[in-house]
């Protein structure tokens, strides 16, 4: 299996949780501006970055994601006033914990992308996908049962 | 444009790190240039010529050596295009083509005159120390 793998180019699986008001709209703007980013990035729409439960992130890794990114409104611009501030604390602590457990810190990320930042959305996703490609397959937080 | 010249243009872009496409052709660089009248090609033309790949013309021009490296054009450019870096890069191309520096770093102090801008001295050291 390993041998076959080396022939095939590694394509990471990236789950992006995007808040409905800023980052999802930013992704739409990237789309309408035709600013491409890898198809490996799959977006899940959530109302706010504060809706992202750490369980979702771990679930994504369990099911075979190689990277998870949470994108929300810029601090201060949250549609719900304060959601991203809570998300910021939660994700900071969660990422720190993952790092503490020796899980590659680069696999998780939070970015603030406004509805006007289509270019930033695209650039961020390109860069993140590249980082994850370089890291290779998620091995430390995988569930082999899901990979067959 | 010959193939060779295309490569040259690429090299200039690479050395300088300048994105000539950012230029909006406002001419502020030339508006601010203190040695404008000494040049047959002016800073804004440098940008446009590099963009068009006319490097050889530039390399042969007197303008290349009349630039004071005062960086006024870099300072003033509203789009951060940095024409002086292009001039510097084209100069390097000339030097590399000659195969060697026509001057050594140690001989720079001898050539310094009072009116020479600081940047030019620093730039000379940087250039000839390579």
């Amino acid at each position: 299996m390993q041998v076959n793998d080396t022939n095939k180019e590694f394509r990471p699986l990236i789950v992006a949780f995007c808040c409905n008001w800023c980052s999802y709209a930013g992704a739409d703007l990237a789309g309408s501006s035709r600013l491409s980013y890898p198809a490996d990035v799959k977006i899940i729409r959530v109302p706010c970055s504060c809706r992202v439960n750490p369980m979702f992130i771990l679930r994504a890794f369990q099911r075979g994601a190689d990277g998870v990114i949470i994108a929300g409104c810029h601090p201060g611009d949250c549609h719900y006033t304060s959601g991203n501030y809570f998300a910021r604390r939660r994700m900071t602590l969660l990422f720190s914990m993952l790092d503490y457990l020796g899980i590659e810190r680069e696999r998780t990320r939070v970015e603030w992308i406004s509805a006007a930042e289509g270019a930033k959305f695209s650039a961020t996703m390109n860069e993140f996908a590249e980082t994850i490609s370089r890291l290779g397959e998620n091995r430390r937080l995988e569930d082999l049962r899901c990979k067959e | 444009m010959t193939v060779n010249e295309k490569e040259l243009a690429e090299r200039v872009i690479e050395i300088s790190g300048v994105n000539t496409r950012k230029c909006m052709k406002c001419g502020k660089c030339s508006g601010t240039c203190p040695s404008y009248d000494e040049m047959e090609y002016h800073p804004h033309q440098f940008v446009s010529m590099v963009e068009k790949g006319q490097i050889k013309k530039l390399m042969e021009s007197k303008s290349l050596w009349t630039c004071l490296s005062c960086f006024a054009c870099i300072e003033r450019c509203p789009r951060s295009v940095e024409p002086a870096k292009l001039i510097e890069a084209v100069r390097l191309c000339v030097i590399r083509q000659q195969g060697a520096n026509h001057m050594k770093a140690c001989s720079v102090p001898d050539s310094i005159d009072e009116n020479m801008p600081q940047q030019a001295i620093v730039s000379a050291f940087r250039k000839y120390s390579k």
């Binding site: 959530v46 504060c50 006007a116 | 508006g31 601010t32 033309q45």
Partner: protein, 661 residues
């Protein structure tokens, strides 16, 4: 088990060009719950919607997945379609295979593969959807307009005209805004005051419009239809009821040190002042920073001279609380600070001025009574240089990356007016591009060149230096390929404009988003240009982006129309995607209430039946009219009692699972 129909839209070639729509439809046919799949050229068209309605009926569908453009575009459309066919509108999920797939991926296989996955995620989510019903809330039939410039005035007038109460909150002592400072307006050259002041008077006279001048918005809470706003009324120290507006006080005031804001600091005003003759309300205001009485307790000349006994030094700041159904932001703009542009010497040379300062110098009511004189020595300038794009289109960090839009036209106006009034004056305009898209705009600019002989130089000025009372302007003329040197008497800079800085605070209070340049973001750049993404908040004028007067007025009226549409409703249907607490799982720990931005969570003691065990428990209860559905509470809740309808934990995890499969 759901009976799901999947409808794949081609969007002409927008989707079908990079995504094999037939393959998407066939690939998801085996997904759990899917009983029907199809594809069609334009799903949002009447034909496409009809197809959906028919399929719902024919196949007994319980939910539909539409693979099309962004849900931000047509989710509402397809929800209506589903509703028309008897489905609950929340049994619709959209797979965004255009903005987030076909438009960004070039390879058709790749695009198709991703579209299939996105469709599968939507199906997985839909399998867990439940019909949702929205709650209803009342609408307070009153609007708030923040900003009393031409944008705010026009919006208020239009709303009042439709019969609704409207309040204008203006932070300065008078309404009128920037337009009041202008002399003439392009391209017709009619006088700004002549067309603005009647509107100001109308606003003041309307019994539906209430003006809060010299006031600021302090806090905003609530939601569409039910905003609660605190307005801070700063003390004028003049009783508006008693004041006759005679102006004697302003003449008697001994303090003359304050720069006159209305005249862009070109002259000074008293501590008690009326910004300009036609100010509304025509009531002076005392500047506490300048007033000798307020600072030292001595003086009081104004009080002594006021026959109406209107001066009241005991006035205090007042907080007014009002309820509104809709809020319009019309916070306007200001010219940017030119501190970063020392090449033009604005800071240290009095004869280098901004265009707005020139407006005041040309205005009959201005500091020079309309005679064009140099600020430095009061002489007539004979040679004037205009420099365009100062700080506009600037990505170097000193200025703004955008085009300020109005500068080309007002510069042409200024040049023309000077040449008209003082034909012996030489006028040069340095320009990068001359942008004149607008009715009669280019004709106007050409007249400046052709009829008035304004010297337009294609190029930018690199340096302005002072020498012997003259301004040495060095710039490039790109057409003649030479460096030009002009000895000018006056240099006028067309400074970029930026949103008024108060907008940041207001945006935060309104939870309206702003872009990187601090312009308020519209709900959709093309289709909803006068609405903010926050329901019930609308945008009017330059706070949304640079625009000239006719555009501002047009947008102001458009915003008013939106407000009128909202206020005309008796009930608003809420967002059914709200938080909900499972009473059997709730610990009553109060953590969710701590993170709720709307105070939507209360705790109640309720008897619950936990598998036969009846007991009274303290549990969370969500006010569905107040909850906006952010979901902050759901993550704070450790037991998972709190969930968000429409975005349940199970639904999102199902999407994750489908994507990662």
């Amino acid at each position: 088990m759901q009976r799901i129909g999947v409808f794949v839209c081609w969007c002409g070639s927008n989707i079908a060009g990079t995504v094999d729509v037939e393959k998407v439809a066939s690939s998801v046919a085996g997904e759990p719950g899917v009983v029907f799949t199809t594809n069609y050229q334009y799903m949002c068209s009447e034909g496409g919607q009809g197809m959906i309605r028919r399929a719902i009926k024919e196949h007994g569908l319980t939910g539909i997945v539409v693979c099309s453009c962004s849900p931000r575009m047509h989710e509402a459309t397809f929800r209506k379609t589903a509703q028309a066919a008897g489905l609950n509108p929340y049994m619709v999920e959209i797979a965004n295979i255009r903005e987030q797939c076909s438009w960004i991926h070039k390879d058709k296989d790749e695009g198709t593969e991703k579209a299939v996955i996105l469709a599968k995620a939507a199906i997985a989510k839909l399998n867990l959807n439940k019909p949702l019903t929205a709650g209803e809330s009342n609408v307070t039939k009153r609007a708030l307009v923040i900003g009393g410039g031409i944008a705010g005035i026009q919006t208020a007038l239009d709303i009042a005209d439709a019969g609704y109460e409207v309040d204008i909150v203006e932070k300065s002592p008078t309404i009128g805004g920037r337009m009041a400072q202008l002399d003439k307006t392009f391209p017709t050259l009619d006088c700004a005051a002549c067309i603005l002041t009647p509107k100001m008077v109308d606003a003041a006279a309307s019994d539906k419009i209430n003006l809060y001048t010299y006031s600021e918005v302090e806090a905003v809470s609530g939601f569409v239809g039910n905003f609660k706003v605190k307005i801070k009324k700063k003390p004028r120290y003049v009783n508006s009821e008693l004041c006759s507006g005679c102006g004697v006080c302003t003449e008697k005031c001994p303090s003359r040190k304050a720069p006159n804001e209305f005249n862009m600091g070109l002259n000074n005003r008293g501590a008690i002042y009326i910004p300009f003759a036609q100010a509304i309300p025509n009531v002076p205001v005392i500047d506490p920073e300048q007033c000798i009485k307020l600072k030292t307790g001595k003086c009081g000349l104004c009080e002594k001279n006021c026959t109406a006994k209107a001066i009241d030094f005991t006035q205090k700041e007042e907080i007014i609380e009002r309820e509104y159904g809709a809020i319009v932001a019309a916070t306007g703009y200001r010219p940017i600070s030119l501190e970063n542009f020392d090449e033009f010497g604005y800071a240290h040379n009095k004869d280098v001025i901004t265009s707005l300062e020139l407006e005041r110098l040309m205005n009959a009511a201005g500091p020079t009574k309309g005679v064009l004189l140099r600020p430095s020595d009061g002489e007539h300038p004979h040679e004037i240089v205009f420099i365009q794009c100062v700080g506009s289109r600037d990505t170097s960090g000193c200025g703004k990356p955008y085009c300020s839009k109005i500068c080309c036209m007002y510069t042409a106006k200024h040049a023309m007016m000077i040449r008209d009034k003082y034909p012996d004056t030489k006028v040069h305009v340095f320009y990068i591009d001359v942008r004149t898209p607008g009715k009669n705009f280019d004709e106007f600019y050409r007249r400046a060149v052709e009829e008035y002989g304004v010297d337009y130089i294609k190029g930018m000025v690199g340096k302005v230096a002072e020498k012997d009372g003259k301004l040495l302007v060095q710039g490039s003329d790109l057409i003649s390929n030479e460096q030009v040197h002009i000895e000018a008497d006056l240099v006028v800079l067309a400074a970029a404009i930026e949103p008024d800085p108060s907008v940041r605070n207001i945006a935060t209070m309104l939870t309206a988003s702003i872009d990187t340049n601090n312009f308020l973001t519209e709900a959709h750049p093309k289709l909803r240009p006068v609405e903010s993404p926050t329901a019930g908040v609308f945008l009017s004028g330059v706070c949304q982006g640079p625009k000239d007067i006719p555009e501002t007025v047009a947008q102001a009226s458009a915003a008013a129309a939106k407000v009128i549409g909202l206020l005309s409703k008796d009930k608003l249907t809420g967002n059914p995607c709200v938080a909900h607490s499972d009473e059997l799982l709730c610990n009553g720990c109060s953590q969710c209430a701590c993170v709720c931005p709307y105070g939507a969570i209360d705790y109640i003691d309720k008897e619950v039946n936990d598998h036969g065990k009846r007991e009274v428990r303290r549990i969370a209860s969500v006010n569905e009219a107040v909850c906006q559905g952010c979901g902050a509470c759901t993550v704070t809740c450790p037991s998972g009692a709190m969930d968000l309808k429409g975005f349940t934990t199970r639904q999102i995890m199902a999407e994750v699972d489908a994507i990662c499969r």
